[in-house]
Symmetry: C2
Subunit: 154 residues, 2 copies
Amino acid sequence: MGEPDKRLYLEDLAAGQTFRSVSQPITAEEIKRFARQFDPQPFHLEEQEARQTFFQGLVASGWHTAALAMRLLVQSAPFAGGIVGTAIEELRWLKPVRPDDVLRLETGILDIQAGKRSRGIVRIKCTTLNQRGEPVQVLTAALLVSRRSEHSPG
Amino acid sequence: MGEPDKRLYLEDLAAGQTFRSVSQPITAEEIKRFARQFDPQPFHLEEQEARQTFFQGLVASGWHTAALAMRLLVQSAPFAGGIVGTAIEELRWLKPVRPDDVLRLETGILDIQAGKRSRGIVRIKCTTLNQRGEPVQVLTAALLVSRRSEHSPG
């Protein structure tokens, strides 16, 4: 008979529901490795050079912070069919993410457009916080979430 | 006397200016590696399992596509002080990115809020296109760009 299905379907979700992730540290080496691949700029690549920039020290690429938010969202919000985003409506970086910061994600459901189809649109707001509880990134997204009825009819 | 400064300052930019990147292929192995780190979901991790999902095959994480757009932007838009984004106003994935797609970026300046400070806000729209010229991602961002006067006074 297998494990009970712990995934959350459209019918299980409601505006105001919240999800909290585990904590995730970020190291200088990870910041530099991501930057070499995707965002090769002095303030993400090397401490010494980073001091001469706008950021006055090494900071994570905003896209690295965004990608880590995705990892924390996948871990904390077990939506049926996976986390399938159709659009990001807002993505804002509020404070720099520095080496050895520890990040976590708080997610809230803003609203649900259920419609009559096999999937509905769930709008969520995800706030990434550092170890001091300061928001470093805020992100609003529209996700496609499956109805239960599609998967276990009757 | 060194190289002439090829970086673009706020004074060099105007609404309507465009920038084109080089082309960048994306492989199945890169898609899976990014997914293992940041977006561990079946449709990004493994071909066979991906066929049973919404996407009916392996697709790149949207955050991988976004990170690649950043790499192409850094390469194609040499703004003074680097590409420093304060906010993404829109980020939309229009078509799946599949293994062996070849991506390129077209960037246009939407408008500039110069103000009186040492940096102005430049709003850009970046469209990622695949090898068939189909838009796969569109992104609107606000960047901080430095004035020349700050760096070479008089």
